[in-house]
Symmetry: C2
Subunit: 149 residues, 2 copies
Amino acid sequence: MPVDHDHIRRTPDRIRDRPTWLISRAYARSSALLTAGFEAHGEGLRGYHYRLLAALEQWGPASQADLARDTGIDRSDVTNALTELESRALVTRKVDPDHKRRNIVTLTPQGAETLLELDTVLEKVQEAVLAPLTAAQRRQLVSLLSQLA
Amino acid sequence: MPVDHDHIRRTPDRIRDRPTWLISRAYARSSALLTAGFEAHGEGLRGYHYRLLAALEQWGPASQADLARDTGIDRSDVTNALTELESRALVTRKVDPDHKRRNIVTLTPQGAETLLELDTVLEKVQEAVLAPLTAAQRRQLVSLLSQLA
DNA sequence: CTCCTATGTTGGTCATACCCATATTGGCGA
DNA sequence: TCGCCAATATGGGTATGACCAACATAGGAG
């Protein structure tokens, strides 16, 4: 056996309990799980796609600029993600006849179906991320994180 | 005035209260503040550099592989970040005479000084991130996030 | 009618986090 | 002792999320 330089995973004190560190750890964990989930069942879709599908399902057809505002995604990233969703026939884009500079983006039935599938993937990821916490603790965490906004 | 398509910032229900979403929001916020802080006072350093300096300050000289393990940074990223730190004379690298494949990385006095300056920057960022919470809530949040590891 | 803003698009940047391949070193077991 | 294997440092590459600047153009406000 090699020497094993006492490889206990340790973290410098300066960093250990800093909220920004803990948040970045939690994010790394959750985004790794999300990526894995999308990879396994998501047909090459990512978080951006899910956010856009969710917004369309909830509020119906919208312009790209509105989608950008509702999802917090930059307009240019919305353009790219929509192009990918469109190529998979999950959404359609057509010019608004009343405002020709605008595209009206609409969820297709396949898009709605895909969203439901992704929901189950996402739900499993939530469970995996929160696994170490009790139900009460989970509620607390959600409440505290919500207030950081 | 333009029409203002009732631009209230809203988030789809599917996403709003999902822990992974809240975590990613918190991360976006905190990393934006961190980037701004480093940009203002950090001489072009980033999170990776801070983590490495902190590990070196706490445990003294170490090999790059050990630094990678202690900071959770990928070995290849450690190599790159150390090259930048070395070019700023914040650390030194020299081959371990007993194990020639290893580099011994040592914090320089300037490195230690820079670390102290960054500490104050980081402290301010913590305060900004946690601003909406009471002291008790902050402790709760830290405790809950710690358990996610 | 003119100006200004919103819109969609193109084409970049950056930080974090990974992965894989390679040369080299040196420990350990056969 | 020797050969194999593990660890090390490095280089190159990918992905995701976030963000920014520039641009042409359509339309609304004045």
